[in-house]
Structures are given as C-alpha cells and as structure tokens.
C-alpha cells in the first residue's frame, strides 16, 4: 500500500476518534453545561487502562505498569471507558455540587495537571514519563495484519465504534434525559424548580461523557501502540473544545464536522508539511497558534458553530403560545445561539425535530 493511502487512513482514524471524543465532551459541556477542563485527563485514563488491560503481565517486558490482564479487544476498550467513568464519578462527587462554573473549571484544570504530574513521576502505575509502548494491536496476529494493513483496518474498527456510540448518543440527546440535560444547561435553577435533581443529571452526563472519553483514548493507544504523558497536557483539552465549538455545540453531526475541520485539516494535515530548515517544530507551534486564532474568530463571528444546534419544540406547543424567538420554556436556544436563529426553524408548532 502506498504511503499516500497510509496517511489518508491515519487521517480517517483521527477523524473517527475525535468524533467520539467530541461527542463525549459535547454531552458534558454542550448538553449539560459542565465546563470540563480536565477532559483530556479522562481520555488519558481510558487510554492507559485500555493499554494495561490488553497488555500481558508486566514482568518480562521491561516496562512497569499495573494489571496486565491480556484481555482481547472489545473488553479492554470497555474497561478503559468504565475506568474513565469511575474517575468521573469521584470527581463529580467532590466538585459538581459545590462549585459554580469558573471555580469548577479551575479545579478541573488543576486536576488535569495533577494527573499528568502523577503519571509522569509514579513509574509503577503507567511506566512514568516513558509511557506505555508495545501495546498489542487488536486482531493483528489473528488476521495476519502487517503494520501497513493494520492502519486501514483499525480506521474501520474506529468507524464502527464511532457509529455505535453515535447511535447511542443520538438516542440520549433525543430522549427526555437529553431534554432535561439541556434544561439544566440553560438554567439549573429553573430545572430544579421543575423538580429535576440537577446533580443527579449532571452526574449522569459526566459518567456518559467520560465513558466516551475513555473509549476514544483506548482507541488512540491501540492505534499508535504507545501513549505517554506528553500526549495529554491541558492544551489537548482545548483542542477538543475547539472541535465542538467549530463544529457546533449541542449538535452531534457538528462534532463530525468539527473533528474534520480541526483535527484532520488543522492538526494532522500540517504535520505532513516539510519542516522549515533550521527551525524544527516551528510548523507545529504556528499550527497550534492558528488553532487558537481560528477558535477565537469562530467564537466572535459564528459562536453557534458550523452546524448550529437545532431548535427543538414540543408538538404540544400551540401556535398561540409559540414565541417569536427562542428562549421559550420548552425550546432551549443553547449557550451560543442568538434568539433569531429560531425564526428559521420552520413552523413554530407540531414539530419534534429529529436530531441526528
């Protein structure tokens, strides 16, 4: 297989993987309004746990890590996802009930740095700063895949996993649970006045979103075969925020578009540019700055993203009561959508628009 297709399938893999990661962050921030600045920490836990669940016992390999369960592919991935959820449960228990948005963001970004610090220094856990390597490639021996044929194969696997997770996520966002989450995002006080247990729903959202983070991380470590602390400094969380904001907060299709624009076009494509002579790494630095600038421009000129969140209205809402703009009791307009967006959403009653 030519190098060209190898790169193409690498890009396809990152597209699917960041689609999964973005869906996870979207349910936390986009649907529920939890500003999870530690998101990449959950991705990392998922990656490490998937790695050590799939790797053989550490005794002979020269690496130091816990577990070493030698479990086959889908099971280690699920363990990775569940570990991220378990961490999210602890974090949510301590922080969600007590802190308002910006304090929460401060504590979570600190958490992200502390997780980084610990995994970097505490070698028996996940091999310290060297990170895990020689992570087994799923099905590689069973299907006799070479390094070249593994890449398109695993891009396909990531696509299947992304499709399954997308199916579940679109069910969640369409369900009463999704509506409640958006109500909490738009106004937690109103939601709790209507008898919704805000904390319980936020916790649910954290657990589901972190599961997605863990699975995305698990795919990442199995695709690359290695994972170390430099892969998940807090700046990486910003990249995933960039994906969901550029794509369109609160819209699952937007996540795919955002992953395509930010992750594929802005991050991985410039990696193939030739380095500027005498300035190693300069392209990467400029690339990161470009992502920051693109995000700021996007926030200023099109805060609703490329694919804006759909305005959902209840079919029970009669035309007489239909508001001219958004912001009705049942029609959340989202954090980023100006009210006039609602005008273009079709007849103001008798629609329960389907999300995708």
């Amino acid at each position: 297989m030519s190098a060209f297709w190898y790169y193409v399938f690498t890009l396809v893999f990152f597209l699917f993987d960041y689609f999964i990661l973005a869906m996870g962050l979207n349910i936390q921030y986009g649907e529920t309004g939890i500003l999870n600045f530690a998101y990449i920490g959950f991705v990392a836990i998922g990656a490490y746990m998937t790695g050590v669940a799939g790797m053989p016992n550490a005794g002979t390999s020269g690496q130091h890590y816990i577990l070493g369960l030698n479990l086959p592919f889908p099971i280690n991935l699920i363990i990775g996802g569940l570990s991220a959820s378990a961490l999210a449960f602890l974090v949510a228990l301590i922080t969600l009930r007590r802190l308002r948005t910006d304090y929460l963001a401060m504590v979570l970004i600190s958490l992200s740095l502390v997780l980084y610090d610990i995994s970097n220094n505490f070698i028996p856990l996940f091999n310290g700063a060297d990170g895990l390597y020689n992570v087994p490639e799923p099905f590689a021996s069973a299907l006799k895949l070479t390094t070249n044929s593994f890449v398109p194969f695993f891009a396909g696997v990531a696509g299947v996993v992304a499709l399954i997770l997308w199916f579940f996520m679109s069910r969640i966002t369409r369900s009463p649970l999704g509506r409640t989450l958006r109500a909490i995002r738009d106004d937690p006080t109103v939601a709790s006045a209507l008898g919704k247990g805000v904390f319980r729903y936020q916790l649910t959202s954290m657990l589901v979103g972190s599961f997605y983070a863990g699975v995305g991380g698990g795919l990442l470590i199995q695709f690359g075969g290695s994972f170390n602390p430099t892969a998940w400094l807090p700046g990486e969380t910003f990249v995933i925020f960039a994906v969901i904001i550029v794509g369109g907060v609160g819209n699952n299709v937007g996540m795919l578009v955002g992953a395509l624009v930010v992750e594929t076009l802005l991050i991985h494509l410039p990696a193939f540019l030739p380095a500027i002579p005498g300035h190693p790494g300069l392209i990467e630095y400029i690339d990161t700055m470009v992502i920051g600038v693109v995000l700021m421009i996007m926030l200023w000129f099109r805060p609703q993203g490329i694919v804006p969140e759909r305005v959902r209205r209840s079919k029970f809402l009669l035309p007489d009561f239909a508001p001219s703009g958004g912001g009705a009791v049942i029609a959340p307009t989202g954090p980023a959508i100006p009210t006039e967006e609602a005008a273009g959403a079709g007849p103001p009653f008798f629609i329960e628009e389907k999300d995708v």
């Binding site: 007590r98 948005t101 910006d102 401060m106 740095l113 610090d117 904001i245 700055m289 700021m296």
Partner: protein
Amino acid sequence: MAQFWLAFGFGLVTASVLAIAAVGLSLQFGITNYINFAYGDFMALGSYLTYEVNTSLLHWNVWIALVFGSLAMGVIAVLLNRFLLGPFARRFQRSFFVLIVTFGLSLIMLNVIYSIWGTNVRSYNMPIEQVLHIGPFLLTRNQLIVMAISVVLMVLVHVMLKTTRLGKSMRAMSDNTTLAMTSGIDTRRITTITWFLSGTLAGLAGTVLAITEGNLTPASGELFLFVIFAAVIVGGVGSIYGAMAGAVLIGLTTEVSAAFINPAYKLDIAFIILILTLLFRPSGLFARPERA
C-alpha cells in the same frame, strides 16, 4: 528537625513567589469576575522578556531587567484586555466564552514562547550565589531579595487598597460593578489599571520564580498555575488577603512536605489541600459569604 527548618526556609521563598502571583490573579478576578487561564503564560512571557533584556539585548543586571520585564508584561496585559478579552467579556454574558478565550490565549502565548526562545532550559545571567546561614535557614542572597520584594509588594497592595482612591474604587467594583458605575467610578479605567497591575505582578512572579528555581522553561508558568489556583481557592476566590494567606499556607506545606515525601510530588500536596478545602470549607478561608 534541622531538615524541617531547612524546608521551612524554602517554603518561605515559595510562599513569597506564590503570594505575588496569587495577588495578581486575585486582583484581576475580583474586578472582571472571570479567571484568566493564560496567567501562567503571562508569568512565563514576563520571565522571558526579562531574560531577553538580561542576556542578549542590553545586558542589564537581572534586577533591573526584572522591572522592565514586569512592566512590559503589564502593558501586554492591558493590550490583551483592550483588544481581545474585554470585547469578549462585554459581548457574551456567559463566562464560558471568555474562559475558553483565555484558555486559547494560553496555548497561543506558550507557542509564541516556543517559537521565539525554543524549548531549551535557560537561565539568567547572574553571579553564582553562595549560601548564607541565617538562623536555622540556608538561603541565597537572591532568595532573600525575592522575599523582601514580596513583603514590600504585599504592604504596597494593602496600602493601595485601603487608602488610595484607586484602591477604594477597585474594592467597590469588586463588590458590585453596576453600583460602582452608578456611583461615578470610571469602571473601564479601573479595569485597565487592574489588568496592568495583574500583568505586572504576573511578569514579576514569573521572573522571581525563574530566579529562585535557577532556570526558566516555557511551561514552568503553566505547571505553576494550579499551585496558584490552589492558593487562591484555599484563601477564598476574589479575596486579596485570602490569596496572601493561601499563598503562605500552600507555599509552606508543599516545601515542608518535600522533606518527608518524594519531592517530585510536592506540588500535588497543593492539590490535596485544595480538595480538602473544597470538602470542608468550599468558599475558602477568607471568602465573603455571598461569593461561594
């Protein structure tokens, strides 16, 4: 016991650096009511500006270069507020927008530093210090100067807040911006001055951090950021005196703990204190009740 007092001495140094940084962050938070996640990179950029004047550009003495680096960082902070953060904060009601912009700004500034100065560890051009024995402590002359700077700054901030017109306006704005505006306080001007002070203190803290650590790296400010957050939250967000107290508490505990555990984890102790504070006194030690 000797080891404890040694660590205690280092703790005082860390607390001094931390206090400067935490007060700078708190001042700005009190006025604008959002956290600046790029603060760690303000510190780093300030320390590199000092480095540039100290080593290659003008070969100034590091303490004079420090004044230049800090003031330059103050001016940069004012410009960033004028053209980037201020417009976002005024246009969008939800704090998320300006928070994510400061987060992005942090990434941009870090990569600007990488592009200009590279990833290498650098150090200031200053004479090698001999260690002085003062009571039970072992400190260098530089560390003593840093402590003195910090104490003087804390007194100055206190005097400014309590006695000057500017300080009273700042306290009024921090209590209630709308009410301050209707009382005839020029809130835009106060905001600009606050950003200048915050940026200056950030640049200063970044430089003295690099001086006490003996080297400067682009990411040092970012990794120090959560220790500042810990100090600010433990003291009570938005409270200047809380930030000072939090800095002393966090600075001393992290360094003293390093005498008993692996020093690689000493900063994580700050996070444990942060979590304990959240569990038992979420509004911080000195917070006003309405700010929880």
